[in-house]
Symmetry: C2
Subunit: 462 residues, 2 copies
């Protein structure tokens, strides 16, 4: 039973000054401050539950997303949560098809990020109240513009098939978790020495950290029995940022490949630096380092370009991965139709929340393309773990060629941070979408008035 009327929406601009240490830097984003537009929904229900939602940003521009959240707020305020989730498809479309606001999207850029932040909060709140069955999940998806590839009935069949062996896969997740790989050790802003040191550490440590309680977003009604910590065999994946300078790339790739040996998986990430012919040429020269994929070789909007690159690199054994800046389900639909990618990277905060991510997971299943989510930025790991574990348990039923990105920073600001064990995401155990930040962290990092920014901005002025 869903309870409460949304009586308050607040949104804050929260920024972490990560650019100071070069964290997260790549060929196109040289000085990101990992940030979020942070939404809190309150209801008038007596349970006192709140819904927390974020969308990820890189610092400047967060205030624009905050402004867009406020522009969308009237669609949410004073609505019954029951009415919202009772026709979640309709509500999704109301947000994305507002007769005036859709002009400044539609379903892309700032307004879509704002939509994600709000809907993520709705899912957090809803997930704390109750579980969902396949029909309920489907009723959340807006199939507009994708029925030529996936109808609601086809989606239902996929979810029905996903019931087979579900119990075993739940057990497997609870026991071993979902395989992760790390990007932390090869940001473009790091020196060779830092790179070497971080790579050594990652190889040695396996990111084991003390487990704390957590739980699957009630998406997939996982069995909540405790799990043992016997892990999967350790098979680590490493990712290196490329694309700024070919000679640098050759040197760095050689360094990493030498350290990790020939068997471990290496991926490369160009962050959209190249034109289509350039991507093919550049990657041909990095082929000797045996990358599994090249990520974001060109513009995220270029479906036909990715298809051409995929075709050219296939003989070299290099796949194409993209998605973190693909702005909606229509782009993913076409990437699948055009055979433009071999690895699909959803971003939990760019697409329109769980609603739209579900549609992409289902289309990927239909085309049998593995989903390997993007999860670098603040909060992305917390959210995406729900999606990817759901994907394994209820949709793809496979771990082959699948892994979820993981970056080991800023988790300390979340109330229910991800748990990584032996290079795997362990299923979250607390109800909700793991989106709540610690109030203390929010207060400190609020822009421009939080303590951290007050100091930094004052220092900049001097």
């Amino acid at each position: 039973m869903v309870r409460g009327r949304i009586c308050s929406l607040s949104v804050r601009d929260v920024r972490f000054p990560t650019s100071l240490g070069g964290h997260g830097s790549d060929a196109m984003h040289t000085d990101p401050d990992y940030s979020a537009a942070y939404v809190v929904l309150e209801t008038d229900a007596e349970d006192g539950l709140k819904g927390y939602g974020i969308t990820f940003t890189l610092g400047k521009g967060t205030e624009v997303v905050v402004c867009a959240v406020n522009a969308l707020a009237h669609h949410v305020l004073n609505k019954d949560l029951g009415d919202i989730v009772g026709d979640f498809r309709g509500f999704y479309r109301q947000l994305t098809s507002d007769g005036q606001l859709r002009w400044i999207g539609p379903e892309k850029g700032v307004v879509h990020l704002a939509t994600a932040a709000i809907l993520n909060a709705v899912w957090d709140l809803w997930a704390k109240q109750e579980g969902k069955d396949p029909r309920t999940l489907l009723s959340c998806i807006d199939f507009r513009y994708i029925t030529d590839v996936l109808t609601e009935e086809e989606a239902y069949e996929i979810l029905q098939k996903g019931q087979v062996g579900k119990k075993e896969r739940e057990g497997q997740m609870l026991m071993h978790g979902y395989p992760a790989y790390t990007t932390s050790c090869a940001w473009l802003g790091y020196s060779d020495d830092t790179l070497k040191q971080l790579c050594t550490e990652a190889l040695k440590a396996g990111w084991t950290r003390p487990a704390v309680g957590s739980s699957l977003l009630s998406l997939s009604c996982v069995n909540m029995d405790p799990w043992t910590s016997e892990g999967l065999p350790l098979d680590k994946w490493f990712k290196v940022k490329v694309g700024a300078d070919l000679q640098d790339d050759v040197r760095r790739c050689r360094l990493i490949r030498n350290m990790i040996g020939p068997e471990k998986t290496l991926m490369m990430d160009a962050n959209q630096r190249w034109d289509v012919p350039e991507a093919v040429k550049w990657m041909s020269q990095l082929a000797e380092f045996k990358p599994l994929w090249i990520e974001e070789p060109t513009s995220p909007d270029d479906i036909l370009g990715h298809a051409a690159i995929s075709k050219a690199l296939a003989p070299l054994g290099i796949g194409v991965a993209t998605g973190e800046q693909c702005h909606n389900r229509v782009i993913f639909k076409q990437l699948l139709q055009a055979k433009a990618l071999q690895f699909l990277q959803i971003d939990s905060c760019r697409l329109g929340s769980v609603n739209e991510n579900l549609s992409v997971l289902l289309m990927a299943k239909k085309f049998e393309i593995p989903v390997c989510p993007h999860a670098g930025g603040v909060g992305l790991c917390e959210l995406v773990q729900h999606l990817i574990i759901f994907d394994f348990i209820s949709v793809s039923a496979s771990l082959q060629n699948r892994m979820c990105e993981y970056v080991d920073h800023l988790h300390e600001h979340f109330r229910y941070p991800v748990i990584i064990k032996k290079a795997s995401y362990m299923p979250p155990k607390d109800a909700g979408y793991s989106t709540e930040m610690k109030e203390e962290s929010v207060k400190k990092h609020q822009y421009p008035d939080g303590e951290v920014w007050k100091k930094l901005l004052a220092a900049q002025e001097n």
Copy 2:
């Protein structure tokens, strides 16, 4: 000689309550208030010239674009205009590739609209100071992500070929203008009676209005000799909005076709209402009314979808037109590559100003696809006339299958409004990009404090 350092940027939220009369309504945008984020640049030069720039919006959300303009302002302020236009490609890329802000685009949605508003103001200012030759124009284009289809050298060749017969085409424009068609008479929100009345008026009147002085944006260095008003043979085009209800569409299309007769050109516009199979089915049932094109049959992001629709409708003699919500040159590149459209509709305020529009005009020329701009909203006609007349004089050199949209409202708020004579855009004569609004209009329509909105908002509260 380019003069001045940008010493001030102001941006205002200007809205016209057009929804009160159902103007501009269509299947997806049922209550638009035609609006603009309105940018004014000032320099420290003694000439006192200002640059005016707008981007078009539909009411709500204009404040989000205003916020984005402010977020981009630091890239413009305190820059020498000479430095900006001296490396305009670099400046364009600086705006569109800001390491933090590009995350909330990139090159799409709110930030790209804001980019357009700012750059439109730069062009207005620059155009008032001096003319441009082909090499200068090319130096404004960011070829990133389109070199697989158009290189700078190819673009140069196209412009060089465009020199042949240029003088004659200038004369032709000055004499007859650029053919226009009107959408005003068939907005979805109008009743059958209103529709009939407006259609009759348009047929009778030919929109003749007293000519006032105007001039080509110095893009193409047009001969400024006075022209006679001997017109082209009158061949009017009419456009009807479809997509909400098939029976309504059949009735309205029959009504209009009967009024205009079998020879006049009729276009249809679905404003993205359909999925791909639905578009094909629906249009098959409207084929008897002989539309030249179906505009925006589905999502503006769906390149492969438009290609499928184009293929299916070709045997019925119906072309596909799209572009007003296509968010950048990468999308247009693919629409051309995939043979997904037969008519290309740029929007002067959605793409990144003249810089990006130029790249699209040049690609369209390469594929020999006619450009028929979108120009409904406030200010769009004022801006796009420069682009389309430039296209004819210097790029396409053809009027075949070409026409520019025209909607007859809100021009009275501009200081240099478009001049329509015998259903044609007459070349603008004043220097600049025709972007300046009357200060009185801006003040009255500023949201939420202008006189017009104060009254309306107070009335809503009661």
